[in-house]
């Protein structure tokens, strides 16, 4: 097995006295698409926050390309090649669509992604590039958030609840673009409550249950029953 791109090793996370993650371990190799699934409050978002440096973490609990980065500030983590599409999109309200994309690429990491490529992926954004980002529809805003993350030319893309608050048809549209997003070997971790879409494209599944890994393995090796049991904890 090749060296993992990202190795999460016995990660604990706390909100004050409340422990949200208990020794979560997870590995992802370059080019792989992993889905982290679980019910509300299972710790999925906390896991992503710990990876990008929004939450304190033990130094060697997060290892990226062989380098321990746990607890590093988020700007350093992005520079290393991890990008997050945050839950609720969180676009910069006072920036236009294009400015949101440009600021995503302001580190100027080399790679295949640039403005032209993002506009090719989501042509509707090119038409609205001068509009305030938050004036767009929910689905279009999600496209901006994905484009903004891609602009940093990451090696690993983290997507937190892409489907949240979007119509099923829009969700389908966005997931349909995942193939062209990952064509050059970008690794992706998708966090979803709505597991249908995630399971279709993921090669690796990790199911969290109240802060612990309940089930993990190659998507092909897991049955619906096993996943359902791990998801609901029955």
């Amino acid at each position: 097995m090749p060296d993992p791109l990202l190795q999460v090793d016995r990660l604990d996370a706390f909100y004050g006295d409340f422990q949200a993650l208990f020794g979560v371990s997870l590995a992802i190799t370059a080019g792989e698409i992993a889905a982290v699934i679980g019910a509300n409050g299972a710790g999925k978002s906390t896991l992503l926050k710990s990876i990008v440096g929004w939450m304190p973490a033990r130094r060697d609990a997060v290892v990226f390309q062989g380098r321990p980065i746990g607890g590093e500030p988020a700007n350093k983590v992005t520079a290393a090649g991890i990008a997050l599409v945050p839950e609720g999109r969180r676009l910069f309200a006072s920036l236009s669509v294009e400015e949101n994309l440009v600021i995503g690429g302001q580190l100027k990491r080399p790679g295949p992604w640039n403005l032209a490529r993002v506009y090719k992926l989501f042509p509707v954004l090119a038409e609205k590039k001068h509009n305030p980002a938050t004036s767009l529809s929910g689905g279009q805003q999600q496209m901006v958030a994905i484009g903004r993350a891609l602009m940093s030319n990451p090696l690993l893309l983290l997507c937190d609840e892409l489907s949240l608050g979007l119509a099923p048809i829009i969700v389908k549209e966005i997931y349909a673009q995942m193939a062209s997003i990952t064509a050059e070997g970008l690794a992706v971790i998708i966090v979803e409550q709505d597991i249908g879409q995630a399971l279709k494209i993921a090669s690796h599944i990790c199911c969290l249950q109240v802060g612990r890994v309940a089930l993990e393995g190659a998507a092909s090796g897991l049955t619906r029953q096993e996943i359902g049991a791990a998801y609901f904890g029955v």
Binding site: V52, G53, W54, P73, A74, N75, T78, A79, A83, L84, P86, R90, F92, A93, S94, L95, E99, V102, I103, G104, Q106, L107, R148, S152
Partner: protein, 284 residues
């Protein structure tokens, strides 16, 4: 004609208030920090200029070229070493710390320079004026007003046309996500404070040429700054310019009526705006 002159003088002074207030509003906009020491920092800038002039004998207007970078460096260092530590979800720590800073600056200046009031002497330009059909406009106030408009215009371009301005806006919108973009918010805040104090340096020297200054005068200037910002509306730079001008004109009109009414008229105008349009006249 008398009244026209009064209004023009007020308008020109208002530009200076606006310049000073723009620094205040910039900091509040980028990092939600209300800098209580802002007025004292203009006084500090005046004393920096005073010291440079005493040591080298250069013209006060030339000393601006040194005071502005010195204040910018002080601003960056102050932000990185002290003020960044006070920022968080609570608005109280930065208020208390900048209040403390205000006291320290006042007493430090008192200790070093005594309580005597000073003025920077700019020479013949102070009395030069242009006459236009009975209206007289001083060269110096006109220069000050021109610089104020240039500063506000420059800030506007910086905010909406440059990468740094984009970073300022992004950090102001959502500093957590801004970090995801690779922006180090501590550094961005440092740059914003450097810019604010660079403007303070310019405004401080211009004010010191116009009126006397002493170590205790900072807080009353801070009030003019706040008033200009709030009259204009918090989020608008051009609003701040308008706010400063309104304040200047009302003060001049008050003084024309009765010299004792100068400050009071400004405060009353401010209270009226606060009562009728609490978000300011030009809020977006």
């Amino acid at each position: 004609m008398d009244w026209v002159n009064t209004i023009i003088q007020g308008l020109l002074v208002g530009g200076l208030y606006a310049m000073f207030a723009a620094g205040l509003s910039l900091i509040f906009g980028v990092m939600r920090l209300v800098n209580i020491a802002h007025g004292d920092l203009t006084v500090l800038a005046a004393y920096v200029a005073y010291s440079i002039i005493a040591a080298t004998g250069i013209d006060p207007l030339v000393s601006i070229l040194l005071v502005v970078p010195i204040m910018a460096v002080i601003g960056y260092a102050l932000q990185r070493a002290l003020l960044n530590r006070t920022l968080g979800n609570d608005i109280l720590p930065p208020l208390l710390v900048t209040f403390g800073l205000s006291v320290i600056i006042q007493n430090g200046l008192l200790e070093t320079f005594s309580a005597d009031s000073h003025r920077l002497i700019a020479g013949p330009i102070e009395v030069a004026s242009f006459g236009l059909g009975g209206i007289y406009v001083g060269a110096l106030p006109l220069l000050q007003f021109g610089l104020a408009v240039a500063v506000i215009w420059g800030l506007h371009l910086l905010f909406y046309r440059t990468a740094l301005g984009r970073a300022f806006r992004a950090v102001s919108d959502d500093q957590e996500v801004a970090r995801l973009m690779g922006l180090d918010n501590r550094h961005i805040y440092g740059l914003a404070m450097a810019l604010s104090l660079a403007i303070v340096g310019l405004a401080g020297v211009l004010l010191a040429i116009r009126t006397n200054f002493d170590p205790a005068i900072g807080p009353s200037r801070l009030i003019f700054g706040f008033e200009a910002v709030i009259i204009g509306g918090l989020s608008s730079l051009w609003g701040t310019l308008a706010g400063g001008i309104i304040l200047g004109v009302v003060q001049a009109a008050g003084a024309h009526f009765d010299p004792g009414w100068q400050d009071l008229a400004g405060h009353i105008a401010f209270l009226l705006v606060l009562a009728l349009r609490p978000r300011g006249l030009f809020a977006k």
